[in-house]
């Protein structure tokens, strides 16, 4: 940041103050000015949800550039920022009428086929509903952006606890390892050259490129780096999964990451009274921090002893083994509808938020992309790299530590230290425990049960990037289509802006239950590069592989 000071931007034409290091989403929360966006197909109201740049519900237009994520964006002084995808505005969007008019959804696969003369009209309307923002107002004088070229022996991707432990244990090195962090670090990591707010993607390796890795790193501020690295440590951590229920896309529903990132300040949550979903460590921690703001704890499965203890101390009711059927409310969540599992009673709890803290998932994209062999671990219901001794993946020179590799909590730190030992030739301590490999995920049975109980009149959005309904996934299955690859192509699930990060893990579990076969047989959608949206301008500026 050039000045590092307070800045003022124009948000929808009115001034808004933004503090140094503060995202636009947080600045808006602090100013108590809601950020409302619209979804792609039904123009449903959306508000920032994940807070970590993984969903599509905080897109805004900055200085005429479309689809900028407010939760990641730290505005420059004087910038004009607008909402997008609503007409005449996102607050009063006439296109949003399609949502209530078609409670069961618009069937674009089978619908709009008659009468023939209306085809062009249907196409115009559907095109108008689609897309988020409009193409940029103008083009930079040189639309290609030449990235900074870097070569390093050791690249660390991710700056969480495992990466920190790794760099600290590695000790001083010249030159220091290059470390890229998508967000901001909570405190500096001495011993590494750190680039914050920088997202890495693997580029396909040139056949002649030898053993090195090619990485494109995109900076939030608009720049880019093209990195050639001899060895790469993937320490990209994890994220809180979503959960499917009617209205799960409604403003006020947050994966726990979002509850942490989107409040008016770091310690304050973006809600008054929340229903928290889950029963493990993550919920216990939330109870520790915000007990007075938690209305109830709902467990899709059993609730752990620590959660039970803290909840009873704080007088928070617990509903273990409970289906979350629906989040109700107009613009924002006002209540949740619950049902005890196994056909038990249905009841309603008033709240202004739902926090999803029932399941942490690893970020497997980079590892898939780099070609590491991956294995399914039923404990969380996700894919992790197959690891050899010394935390090596099956790709020479590629290592994985922390949550992305299946090391949670304290094990995450230990995995970072163990890798440092392995790379410096010291005695490698025994590897800490990883996420359980065996066992069907609790959630597979949960979903199989949930589907029959969902309300009919409300939409259950399975893929929020593309507004794909759970009903459409069910239809695809009923017609006899099998496997996630075909389901993706049939419904469009997982093909949106964030390439299935939230919806695909859930879909795999549900399809596994429906198809009666283990999740790995249902498959995983191919991680097609660049996985994270990489601007055409930055790709156009890449040095040609021949020139390396």
């Amino acid at each position: 940041m050039p000045d590092g000071g307070e800045r003022s931007v124009r948000w929808k034409g009115r001034p808004l103050d933004v503090r140094p290091g503060e995202s636009l989403a947080r600045a808006l929360a602090r100013a108590r000015r809601p950020l409302l966006t619209r979804s792609i197909r039904y123009h449903r109201p959306r508000a920032p949800a994940c807070g970590i740049g993984h969903c599509t519900s905080c897109l805004v237009r900055v200085e005429g550039r479309p689809n900028v994520r407010a939760c990641r964006y730290e505005p420059e002084n004087g910038e004009r920022i607008e909402t997008e995808n609503g007409w005449p505005s996102t607050g009063f969007d006439l296109l949003a009428l399609v949502d209530p008019i078609f409670p069961g959804g618009i069937d674009t696969l089978h619908g709009f086929r008659r009468p023939a003369f209306a085809t062009p009209l249907f196409q115009r309307v559907v095109r108008r509903l689609a897309g988020f923002g409009a193409l940029a107002d103008g083009a930079p004088p040189d639309p290609t952006l030449a990235p900074e070229l870097r070569t390093t022996d050791l690249l660390v991707i991710g700056g969480g606890r495992s990466a920190r432990a790794f760099v600290e244990a590695l000790g001083p090195r010249t030159p220091p390892p290059l470390l890229l962090e998508r967000g901001r670090l909570d405190r500096p990591i001495p011993g590494a050259e750190v680039r914050e707010r920088t997202t890495a993607v693997f580029l396909p390796r040139p056949a002649s490129g030898g053993a090195s890795f090619a990485v494109l790193a995109i900076e939030e501020g608009g720049g880019a780096l093209q990195i050639t690295a001899r060895a790469v440590v993937v320490a990209v951590g994890g994220y809180d999964a979503t959960l499917w229920f009617a209205g799960s896309d409604r403003p006020g529903v947050y994966p726990a990451d979002g509850a942490e990132a989107l409040g008016p300040s770091a310690g304050e949550p973006p809600f008054r009274r929340a229903v928290v979903v889950g029963g493990g460590d993550r919920v216990a921690a939330l109870l520790g921090a915000w007990a007075d703001r938690i209305e109830a704890v709902v467990g899709p499965g059993p609730v752990g002893p620590e959660v039970a203890k803290r909840a009873s101390e704080a007088g928070v009711p617990i509903y273990p083994r409970t289906l979350l059927l629906e989040a109700r409310g107009r613009r924002r969540v006002a209540a949740v509808r619950l049902a005890a599992r196994g056909g038990g009673r249905r009841f309603t709890v008033a709240c202004d938020a739902v926090v999803l803290a029932h399941r942490r998932l690893p970020n497997p994209q980079l590892l898939f992309q780099a070609g590491a062999a991956m294995e399914w671990r039923g404990g969380t219901g996700a894919y992790y790299p197959r690891l050899g001794p010394g935390l090596a993946t099956t790709v020479p020179g590629l290592f994985a530590i922390g949550e992305a590799a299946g090391f949670e909590g304290a094990a995450s730190t230990e995995s970072g230290r163990a890798l440092a030992a392995a790379l410096t030739g010291a005695t490698v301590p025994p590897l800490p425990d990883r996420v359980r490999a065996e066992g069907p995920s609790e959630l597979a049975g949960y979903y199989a049960e949930l589907v029959g109980s969902l309300p009919r009149r409300a939409k259950t959005i399975a893929c929020a990037c593309e507004d794909v309904l759970l009903r459409e996934l069910a239809e695809c299955h009923e017609l006899g289509y099998r496997g996630i690859e075909v389901a993706k192509r049939y419904t469009g699930l997982g093909t949106g802006l964030y390439q299935g990060r939230y919806c695909v893990p859930e879909a795999i579990l549900l399809l596994s239950a429906w198809e009666g076969r283990p999740p790995p047989e249902v498959g995983f959608i191919t991680q097609r590069p660049p996985v994270v949206p990489a601007p055409l301008g930055a790709l156009a500026g890449l040095a040609r592989p021949e020139a390396e």
């Binding site: 792609i40 550039r65 479309p66 689809n67 674009t108 696969l109 089978h110 619908g111 709009f112 086929r113 008659r114 023939a116 085809t119 062009p120 196409q123 559907v126 095109r127 108008r128 689609a130 897309g131 988020f132 923002g133 409009a134 193409l135 103008g138 083009a139 930079p140 639309p143 290609t144 580029l203 396909p204 390796r205 040139p206 056949a207 490129g209 017609l479 289509y481 099998r482 496997g483 690859e485 075909v486 192509r489 049939y490 469009g492 949106g496 802006l497 390439q499 191919t526 097609r528 590069p529 660049p530 949206p533 990489a534 601007p535 055409l536 301008g537 790709l539 156009a540 890449l542 592989p545």
Partner: protein, 388 residues
């Protein structure tokens, strides 16, 4: 995996892409008897699930123009007949020229297309701007445009044809590979699979990029070659591009889907063969991004969501191969569709079905028949207008 139910079929079609499925549909509709489609991957795993959805009638060769014109009519009706909406949007195809030579080339295509009764137009640079205002005018000296060309969404077409064919009794075995062709007394007798031989009077080679491999497994050398083609999709934006745009100089093609993504590719110097897999090469993203921002500079800030590749089944003369192989009675070709098999499918497979039933077909055998590669005197007039 779904194993075939019967020990023998009248016709076995190898390849469950659009060509194989559409052929099976025409055959079942004609009451051809037990039909089996063998697909070694999942449905849509071949080129039919990886293409750009372009449909055009602007070609150099009359034979192709006629087939394409018929296919356009079929796709216009498709939604009403098949129950799925293909979202066939006739936004036109806009060819761009940047040199005099390219103008001359487009001019000659334009003359042929017009003489076939299609109202193609030659455009001055200002008219190009009117049709596609997002395009940078730099370097463009002219173009041609045919407004009844367009784009469709391939998946609903695949599902529709698959479901219709099955409802007419066609069996589709997924995850089953054709390992070889069994002969008896000089003609086709069946197909070898990992779980044994399946009897067949006729085998149709609709194996797309792997058709040459299958022909060779049948003991028939052919001139088809698979070539890898790459394609990408950007994040979805509001409507900004109506036609499919093709630039001759770098073979760039790009259109905007109904969902708002820009989807396209360009010519790349890939060596023939299927070794490249289905992923992205190191050269593609930078080359394609450079081509695309040169065409639409305002797209520079747009994110690329994904890139992937598939295989064209190319022939030396750029024309498909349709008909029975004279060297092996009962072995029918339905391949060599290059980058245009999807758009031609409704029309081309009608002829494949007839050939499989031993009926005469109304196509110029010189242009499409397999015999043209066996006899140097019967070489066809080639089709060179390949990009997009």
């Amino acid at each position: 995996m779904s194993a075939p139910a019967k020990p023998r079929y009248r016709i076995v079609i190898v390849g469950g892409g659009i060509v194989g499925l559409f052929t099976s549909y025409h055959l079942a509709k004609a009451g051809a008897g037990p039909i089996l489609v063998l697909e070694r991957g999942f449905l849509s795993s071949g080129a039919s699930g990886r293409n750009g959805g372009g449909v055009r009638q602007q070609w150099e060769t009359r034979a192709t123009i006629r087939l394409a014109r018929e296919a356009v009519q079929e796709y216009r009706r498709f939604g009403r007949e098949f129950g799925y909406n293909p979202w066939f949007r006739q936004g036109g195809y806009l060819f761009l020229a940047e040199t005099r030579t390219e103008i001359a080339r487009l001019h000659s295509v334009h003359e042929t297309v017009r003489s076939e009764g299609l109202p193609s137009r030659e455009l001055a640079p200002e008219e190009v701007r009117e049709i596609a205002p997002a395009i940078s005018p730099e370097g463009i000296v002219g173009g041609t445009f045919l407004d009844s060309d367009g784009t469709l969404y391939p998946f609903p077409v695949l599902w529709a044809v698959y479901e219709k064919a099955r409802s007419l009794g066609v069996e589709v075995a997924l995850g089953v590979e054709a390992l070889g062709i069994v002969r008896d007394r000089g003609r086709v007798a069946g197909v070898a699979t990992p779980s044994g031989t399946i009897g067949a009077d006729v085998v149709v080679n609709a194996a797309g990029g792997w058709s040459a491999e299958l022909s060779r497994r049948a003991g028939l050398p052919v001139e088809n070659t698979p070539t890898r083609h790459e394609i990408l999709a950007t994040e979805p934006v509001k409507p900004c591009l109506d036609p499919m745009v093709i630039r001759l100089s770098d073979g760039l093609y790009v259109s905007q889907t109904m969902r708002g993504e820009l989807v396209g590719g360009r010519s790349m110097p890939h060596a023939p063969g299927t070794e490249g897999g289905m992923s992205t090469s190191p050269e593609f993203l930078p080359s394609m991004a450079r081509s695309l921002v040169r065409l639409i500079p305002r797209a520079a800030s747009l994110g690329v969501l994904r890139a992937w590749s598939g295989y064209y089944d190319d022939t030396p003369d750029g024309l498909p191969v349709i008909g029975e192989d004279p060297r092996l009675p009962g072995f029918v070709h339905a391949n060599g569709f290059g980058g245009h098999g999807f758009m031609l499918a409704p029309a081309s497979t009608r002829r494949v079905a007839k050939a499989a039933l031993g009926e005469a077909i109304d196509l110029d055998p010189g242009a499409f028949g397999p015999a043209r590669f066996l006899d140097p005197d019967r070489r066809a007039v080639p089709e060179h207008l390949q990009p997009g």
